[in-house]
């Protein structure tokens, strides 16, 4: 295959993987910690996108300074509300959280449709993000890297790095890891698990909101965008290993590249099917994902 086309495809795959990773991080955290399957998580991404659209309307071309805090705080607050109102009552019933949050995602999608219309709203990237790096000479002559996609990739890398630092170096992170390993024991040692659940869930929602900013820069935001991402984001969590931030990062890259390659070789509709067959095959080999959480419990979901 043409090396320029292939590299371009891989680069696009990397930027898609970045958004996928930012979406999956929140899922991996809430799934790992609370065993909550949040089907409305994709809608946090969507809301982050719409908040970016609003920020662009309010602040003009240099809207990013407003978009990031607005998207993060807005989705985190909504996440907190959702946790306190619904999810809190469903701990220990993962399949029920799945159904309840699916209902919430329907409500959010319909609300978005009525407020913003069912066609996508475009967000124009700031001037300094317009343009691309072009490779001259060599085997990759003519390959371009658009700034916007580079920006999204850097953004994901920064958030992933920040999350890793937060989880491995801070007191908060220590509590999260403790609850993840043994909730009862952590609670007995004085960790306020209920408060931690709320914080982690809101943090995951906020990160999805940040992913929404990246999404809005790449393509118009529409009410269905959340449902387009959610299934793949869950696959990232499953392949990565529940609750593992590093696993989610590796799995997002793996899935992003595989899809991009398969799309380059066949068609986008076949690519989805191929990726899924690979995921199921992978789970035959490693049923607990790339980086499994070790546990002696017999019935560890």
């Amino acid at each position: 295959m043409d090396p320029v086309f292939l590299s371009g495809q891989l680069f696009t795959g990397l930027s898609v993987a970045s958004l996928l990773l930012l979406t999956a991080l929140g899922l991996a955290l809430s799934f790992g910690l609370m065993r909550v399957i949040n089907m409305a998580h994709g809608e946090f991404l969507m809301i982050g996108g719409y908040l970016t659209f609003i920020a662009a309307k309010v602040a003009g071309p240099g809207f990013l300074w407003l978009a990031f805090p607005l998207a993060f705080v807005g989705t985190a607050l909504l996440g907190a509300l959702l946790e306190a109102a619904v999810i809190r009552r469903l701990y220990g019933r993962p399949l029920d959280t799945l159904l309840a949050t699916w209902g919430i995602s329907l409500i959010l999608q319909q609300a978005a449709r009525q407020i913003f219309g069912s066609t996508g709203v475009p967000v124009t990237a700031p001037d300094w993000l317009n343009g691309a790096v072009t490779v001259h000479g060599g085997a990759l002559d003519g390959l371009t890297f658009p700034y916007v996609r580079l920006f999204v990739i850097v953004l994901a890398a920064l958030v992933l790095g920040g999350m890793w630092l937060l989880l491995s170096r801070s007191r908060f992170g220590m509590h999260v890891r403790a609850v993840n390993q043994n909730r009862e024991m952590a609670a007995a040692l004085g960790v306020n698990t209920r408060q931690l659940d709320l914080l982690v869930f809101s943090l995951g929602a906020g990160i999805a909101g940040i992913a929404g900013v990246g999404l809005a820069l790449l393509s118009p935001v529409n009410p269905a965008v959340g449902s387009a991402y959610i299934v793949n984001a869950f696959l990232v969590v499953v392949v990565g290993g529940v609750g593992s931030v590093l696993g989610a990062g590796a799995a997002a890259l793996l899935l992003g590249f595989t899809t991009a390659l398969a799309e380059g070789l066949t068609s986008s509709s076949l690519a989805q099917a191929i990726m899924l067959i690979l995921v199921v095959a992978f789970l035959q080999w490693k049923p607990r994902g790339l980086i499994p959480t070790r546990s002696r419990a017999l019935e560890d979901a």
């Binding site: 799934f31 065993r35 399957i37 619904v86 009552r89 469903l90 701990y91 220990g92 019933r93 993962p94 399949l95 029920d96 959280t97 799945l98 159904l99 309840a100 699916w102 209902g103 919430i104 995602s105 329907l106 409500i107 999608q109 319909q110 609300a111 009525q114 909730r183 449902s227 299934v231 793949n232 869950f234 696959l235 969590v237 499953v238 068609s267 986008s268 509709s269 076949l270 989805q272 099917a273 990726m275 899924l276 067959i277 995921v279 199921v280 789970l283 035959q284 049923p287 419990a297 017999l298 019935e299 560890d300 979901a301």
Partner: protein, 370 residues
């Protein structure tokens, strides 16, 4: 509600009244309502499968649309070939520049083959998916996520394969089935199709009810309660789960074929992720562990959907979303669970609630909430 026997007699009486009302429906319902009811009854067969797989075995499949679609497409392919002149290609293939009939279409020219495939194809596919998952002890929410991704992949493939499957338009324009003219607008066809659907649903309900009362059925309930304990007793839970999943797939496929016959078309939009989750929710509403509950939930839910979504289209998704949340929060065992609780004091609810606990060793908290 004095005793179990009395309660059972009341239940049987109610069931007989409902059955009589359904059998007589063509004589008092209008054409529109009757076709709607027929379609809903066809969907109820898929609800039975969900009752076995989820309600009894504790496996939440979000991909029943896949097996529903396989059954529906198996029949639709035959109907399409029956409507196409001998030696010619179906119209959508001609538009898409397909030169000769794809190999997997060829055997569907035979009606017995297509009818067999309506049952075999979904059961085999479900069995294979289940085998891949359960032999590696993939459980709980993983199963839900994988099945959901499978149905998404299937729908994406259907959409992308214009020349092979007619893509987003789906397969349509049927004319005859086993020599019966499907285009006739007479009552003979609508009444006949309705009664056939009702009969098949009745047979499936009786069959499922019998199956769940056998040793096999008890094992399914036991697996939902505590799979490891079943394993320690010397059984292989994976084998039972695969069998249950294949049975659920078979019922979904049959349901899909009947639904296709009622609607006169099948398309990817009809069987996708939203459809698959909706099926699950109506079953949850009625009561997933109860056969009557699952069927009743599906019938009531689909009828309500038809009425409300045509009266207030914008509000429908809000109502449905709110229903999801309320059912889960207030009625985890559905309406049937509520009625049971009234009838007999608790007992079975604890057992059913243990299904959640199997997903996670946090039993003490679950007990309070269930």
């Amino acid at each position: 509600m004095t005793g179990g026997a009395m309660n059972r007699a009341t239940q049987t009486a109610l069931l007989l009244v409902a059955a009589a009302a359904l059998i007589a429906a063509p004589f008092y319902l209008g054409a529109y309502s009757l076709t709607l009811l027929g379609r809903v009854l066809a969907l109820s067969i898929a609800a039975l499968g969900i009752c076995v797989v989820w309600g009894r075995t504790g496996i939440l499949s979000l991909g029943q649309g896949l097996f529903f679609g396989l059954g529906g497409y198996a029949l639709a392919m035959h109907l399409k070939l029956a409507a196409t002149a001998k030696g010619e290609l179906p119209d959508f293939m001609v538009y898409n520049g397909v030169e000769s009939l794809p190999w997997f279409w060829k055997p569907f020219a035979s009606a017995p083959f297509a009818l067999a495939m309506v049952l075999i194809l979904p059961a085999l596919a479900a069995g294979l998916v289940a085998w891949l998952m359960f032999r590696r002890r993939i459980t709980g929410v993983y199963v839900s996520i994988i099945t959901q991704a499978l149905v998404l992949a299937f729908v994406t493939w259907l959409n992308g394969s214009q020349g092979l499957t007619s893509g987003t338009n789906g397969i349509t324009d049927f004319q005859t089935f086993l020599g019966i003219d499907l285009r006739s607008s007479g009552t003979g066809l609508t009444h006949g199709l309705y009664w056939v659907t009702l009969l098949i649903l009745g047979v499936c309900m009786a069959g499922t009810s019998w199956l769940l009362r056998t040793h096999f059925g008890s094992l399914l309930t036991a697996i939902q309660g505590n799979e490891n304990r079943v394993r320690f007793l010397g059984y292989n839970p994976a084998a039972y789960k695969i069998a249950a999943f294949a049975f659920g797939g078979l019922l979904s496929g049959l349901s899909g074929a009947l639904y296709t016959l009622h609607l006169g078309t099948i398309s990817p939009a009809m069987i996708g992720v939203t459809f698959s989750i909706e099926l699950v929710v109506w079953v949850a509403l009625g009561g997933r562990a109860s056969i009557v509950g699952a069927v009743g939930g599906m019938v009531a839910g689909q009828l309500a959907k038809d009425r409300i979504s045509s009266a207030v289209p914008d509000a429908w998704l809000y109502i449905m979303g709110a229903l999801f949340v309320l059912v889960v929060l207030v009625l985890p065992q559905g309406v049937a669970g509520l009625l049971n609780r009234r009838g007999s004091a608790g007992g079975s609810e604890v057992e059913a609630g243990a299904g959640h606990a199997a997903d996670l060793p946090r039993t003490s908290k679950t007990g309070e909430q269930a």
